[in-house]
Point group: C2
């Protein structure tokens, strides 16, 4: 029986995507070859890449001033590649530190360049967003931030314009709502939350950034060469990119507006139950900072925590434990989590009033 | 109908592996979750990693002085990571240049350190192996070479002992024969030829190498931290690692001795047909340099080349074209290519006498 899986990533995929992905493992279309055997230089894979790039641009409202690239290495490789390409001792990079992943990104950057932390909510244990910096030094190579913070459950719902190239880690909320993607000079997402399965990262980069690379780098680590090689600079994760294409088709069919509406509904339902519960408390008290993607909460006693975990398990619910660094609970409500799963969870929350 | 696929990689996988991989996409074991949704921090994935590491060590005859790590980024990320970790201006690295991939590896190395090419067969268009260097400077950080050269079809069948750490790119012949893996301080393989599907690389490193890292590096690019994090330094390519585990089980069940015997049989059959053909000529004339994995050959006229490609297509054979940089034909005979497929190919070769 299929579980209701609230894991923060790798996360739930739609049943229809899984069916099609499984079919492709046996045979991709009528090629006589599995997607796991398909050459990255085949016509079939070129078509997969082309369609996925078109869909990304369409869903993000981007024109040809942007390049779309599928890469290996997940989000963390981007933590390294961004400063490697754009920051140095003489090219300081700005970071907004709103949670674990922002912090790790800036730690990676410090290996390659001067790092300026322009805002942080570390002293609040990241339970709220920091204040967006009121001014950003003009000479910064870029300003990096994380749109949604999976571990502590905060999300930027308004992104101010900036005077330097803005770079966003959108791993956990890409394609989850209408969004002005043209704010960014570069944005990226590890696929295993809203775009597919683990093992690929989606990187979208504005072409003018490719002129700003500050040091010689081998092709695999060089955005310019990656962008020019159409996602096959090396052997692509063919099946991973295909799974992402299936997700993109699913998103397009459903429509971003409908997805946003449902995501808001799901989050409202859960936060409302938590706000009205005597047993459970949402971790983020500032409502305008709350994430629609990752709802974090705690129980009033360790016994209630244990009981609730057991209750969830009895009711076929999994992936509800908070991140090991903070404990408590976390329900991740990515696009593929159906409203019915959230209703079930809310029903269980209400049994502990 | 399933094709006879002689592609050089991504390459053919055994039917049983595909069946099990497809089943896992629908549901991994009885978890109620797809392998594409399975958390890299789950008990289930920890078991997959543990079993795969044990199998790699067993199949390679390695003890606990080696670490086995699944990484993102394919072989090319290793081209970058090896010199990044071990070479510098003051720590020269030695390279043996026996083909396209060796050459690319040393080009990557030049971004990070002093590179010494100790042997090359570039002037022979890599149609033979270079002479293994008679002496290697003691002070080299390491000596890198490629055990099997996929594009031109040569393979080292005897690896001399060396006085510096030996590093091998085994992407195209790992697990294909008995081999003294303890020769190496580090060896690696992009999975999509003999170990699974595209999107993961297998890296095996002797622990003493972890003390020789020459520069500060962020965790993703640092072998020491990768080795300490048990293949989940970041979100692993869960399904990719699982496909590799399925391949490792298949290899173990068949047995390396049986695999080697069959690989020799397959290659002998094909080379023999080519050596006795008036239409086709094997590219590598020095028999002791010939690859058992990639058999490269040409036709006497462009017309015969075209005819043979058409004949293969009519007979359900695919992936037989030579690498775009050299042309002609290439039949890749990795472990999962059945003897019967090679017999079929040989039969077609014999129809053009």
């Amino acid at each position: 029986m299929r579980k209701l899986n609230f894991n923060a990533g790798p996360a739930t995929l739609p049943e229809s995507v899984l069916q099609e992905a499984a079919r492709a493992v046996l045979e991709y279309k009528d090629t006589g070859i599995s997607i796991l055997e398909l050459s990255h230089r085949s016509k079939e894979f070129a078509d997969i890449v082309a369609e996925s790039k078109l869909l990304v641009k369409e869903l993000c409202g981007l024109d040809d001033s942007y390049e779309v690239v599928w890469m290996h290495g997940g989000g963390r490789m981007q933590f390294a590649m961004i400063p490697m390409n754009f920051a140095s001792e003489h090219n300081a990079a700005g970071y907004i530190d709103s949670g674990h992943w922002s912090e790790e990104a800036l730690e990676y950057a410090a290996f390659y360049g001067d790092v300026q932390i322009l805002a942080t909510s570390k002293d609040d244990n990241y339970s709220r967003l920091p204040h967006w910096p009121s001014s950003v030094p003009d000479r910064l190579a870029y300003l990096h931030f994380t749109t949604n913070n999976t571990i502590c459950g905060t999300q930027w719902h308004h992104i101010p314009a900036t005077n330097v190239p803005l770079i966003a880690d959108m791993s956990s909320d890409i394609f989850s709502m209408r969004h002005n993607y043209t704010n960014y000079s570069l944005f990226y997402a590890a696929a295993q939350k809203n775009v597919g399965a683990a093992g690929v990262a989606l990187v979208v980069i504005r072409k003018d950034m490719l002129k700003r690379i500050v040091r010689p780098l081998p092709p695999m680590l060089n955005y310019k060469q990656q962008a020019h090689e159409n996602s096959i600079l090396n052997t692509a994760n063919v099946s991973g990119v295909y799974t992402s294409l299936l997700m993109l088709r699913w998103i397009k069919e459903k429509g971003i507006d409908a997805i946003e509406k449902e995501n808001k509904e799901k989050a409202a339902l859960l936060y409302d139950a938590l706000d009205n519960s005597k047993t459970f408390t949402p971790t983020v008290t500032e409502r305008s900072h709350r994430s629609l993607m990752n709802v974090c909460f705690t129980a009033d006693t360790p016994e209630h925590e244990k009981e609730f975990l057991a209750l969830c398990a009895q009711n076929n619910i999994t992936g509800i434990k908070g991140h090991r660094s903070v404990g408590g609970f976390r329900a991740s409500l990515y696009n593929a989590i159906p409203l019915a799963a959230v209703e079930k969870l809310v029903q269980l929350i209400k049994t502990n009033p």
